[in-house]
């Protein structure tokens, strides 16, 4: 069993089809059709990943995403029929790690799910330092002094990617490839939104970041103490 996936979607045909595809790839699917019961189902099934339709009866996908994010850093992939800027940004800001636009191909969806579930299995003991942060890569934890900072796996991956090479400026496209696993050009807003979320957790003053720096016109880089 590769992992447990909770499918939150009100369309029975699509849910069933998602189940068939997920099962074929060795995942164990669970289903809930009503947004209002999504959180309860999430607590009950304790999945490794949530597939969440944005348009839901009862409670809309953005709300569901927020309430799941409030109690867990588990990967959330949104299924959206809307490509309009506002909807996508709203979804990402509510805490979704990634999104796929309907209609998507089965392979594309599986690839997105795999990337989000890919844990750093080759967990060699590795400790990184970034400013006053201590990052334990194998232990998946970030500490400031003795205080543990709670990051979602995606935010953690993003931070590790930047902190490993503080001398390098990462373009948004490179980060999409390294962290999100996109092999083709994709939506760079993913990067912008998640850098903001990461900053709000690790920076002393997210308005004036000192750890994750913006390089105008290029991308982002971690603070380099060797300078």
């Amino acid at each position: 069993m590769k992992g447990r996936v909770l499918v939150v979607d009100d369309d029975p045909a699509l849910s069933e089809m998602l189940g068939i595809v997920l099962q074929a790839d060795g995942f164990e699917p669970f289903f809930v059709a009503d947004g209002a019961r999504a959180l309860e189902a999430f607590r009950h099934t304790r999945p490794d990943l949530v597939l969440l339709d944005v348009m839901l009866p009862g409670k809309d996908g953005i709300e569901v995403c927020r309430s799941i994010r409030a109690e867990s850093g588990i990967p959330i992939v949104m299924l959206t029929a809307k490509t309009d800027t506002v909807d996508v940004v709203l979804g990402l800001e509510s805490g979704a790690d990634d999104y796929v636009v309907k209609p998507f191909k089965a392979k594309e969806l599986i690839a997105r799910i795999r990337t989000r579930l890919r844990r750093v299995d080759e967990a060699k003991p590795e400790v990184l330092r970034l400013g006053d942060l201590t990052i334990d890569v194998a232990g998946h934890s970030v500490r400031r002094d003795s205080q543990t900072i709670d990051l979602t796996p995606l935010e953690f991956d993003l931070l590790v990617c930047l902190a490993r090479k503080p001398w390098q400026v990462f373009s948004r496209e490179v980060l999409l490839q390294e962290v999100w696993g996109y092999r083709h050009p994709a939506d760079t807003r993913l990067v912008n939104v998640h850098v903001q979320r990461l900053r709000s957790k690790i920076e002393h003053d997210p308005e004036n970041p000192e750890l994750v720096l913006t390089v105008r016109g290029v991308g982002y880089k971690a603070r380099d103490d060797s300078d």
């Binding site: 369309d11 045909a13 089809m17 595809v21 809307k82 309907k102 209609p103 191909k105 089965a106 392979k107």
Partner: protein, 519 residues
Amino acid sequence: MFSALTRRWRRSLAFRVVATTLLAGTALVGVSLGFLLVRVTNGLVDANTSRSIAEANVGLASAQQVVLQASESGPPPAGEGLADSIMNSLVSGIEQGADFEILLLDGSAPSGTELPERGTNLVEVSSVPPDLRSQVQSEGREVWTYTTIEYVDQPSQPGLVVGALLTIGTDTAYEVYYLFPYGQLQGTLDLVRSTAWITGVLLVGLLGLLMSLIARHIVLPVRQAARTAELLRAGHLEQRLPVRGEDDLAALASAFNDMAGSLQTQIRQLEDLSRLQQRFVSDVSHELRTPLTTIRMASDVLYERREEIPPGLRRTSELLNDQLDRFELLLVDLLEISRFDAGAAQLETEPVDLRDVARDAVAAARPLAQSRGSRIVEMLGDRPCMADCDRRRIERIVRNLLSNAIEHGEGKAIQVRVAANTTSAAISVRDFGRGLDDEDLEHVFDRFWRADPSRARNLGGTGLGLSIAMEDTRLHGGRLAVWGRPGEGALFRLTLPRVAGQEMSGPSALPLDPTRVSV
């Protein structure tokens, strides 16, 4: 100064009205006062002249009497005594206190005795014009003219001179000249003239003031209407004009308000319709996409495992898969077009080097070009061609133009050029394929239009690509132009303003007709 005045003349209605009134008023007042002055002056001068001549005649008659009496008693009189008694008699016809001078000059023939001359108040003899003297000598009776009276010890002044010949003997005579200065008359005339001036200036001034008040009264509401119309244009649809009274301006204001009200209603209706349309597009989008996703995934599952399917059904699964791709593209393009139609498309502009856009689009199109045997030649120049634009949309336009060129390029080379001038930047895509005739050129941007209906769409284009490209270009305030000739290929040229929202002036940075390029 002059240019400032002409500008005000052009721009201010009130200024024009006041200035015109002032000019016309000045002319009118000038003409009427001038006429009045001439009449008054002539009347006064005429009366004065006839009185003076009458007075002179009385004096002359009594002097003639003196001469007659003197000659009865002896030989032709002469000498100082005669001159003095003539002088005394000359003033007799003139009322007491009148201002006048007399000159008694020797008018004898050259053969006659010389007579002593007399005069009052040191008047110069030159006060009498020589013409008048010769007239007096030849005609004998009294003659008059206007002259300038010159004094020995006072400034000269205008006046009337009346002259006559006073015969003493057979060849001796006196020329008598009465000189009446106009001193008092001049004072009266000066007073009349200055009064006329003051009246004129006051009249014109009052007229100007009155007109500017009237102009303000009319122009202010007109200006307010113009301001309100400007606000309405800027989208403040609730703006109205105040309606005061029941006059013409009030009628203008209420008609204006009615117009604004009806405009507001219509715009609201259109907005509602547009919102409804957007909502509908969004709903259709969602409703269509969900079942399509299921079908898509089902087809994927079948396609992945087509080896397990009996060969007869295998092809079916392949067709299903291919056509789903096409269906998806069509759906995406249709939704995009509806978004344009609903006015819901929005630009996210940033400064972009069009050469980068061209490079990316060419890189994406290269595999397709290679499969068709076309070579894409980039002619991008070595200077950045920056323009404010929505990169995603511009790249989509260029990709569309490229795939169009590949589809119709018959495997020949495709040229991509980028250039910029001061106000615009341009990209052109040229193919050397079957080309376009005049009718093609007219319809090439029409939705679902095909150059040759008998030919299948090999590349699976939706028939909406160029329409979307045109809409994207319009959204940027740019131009998308096409050139083509049968057998010589086609050229599409996209021109964008360098600064978003700014007008493009002059020609595009790239030529449209490639056959006319000198290079």
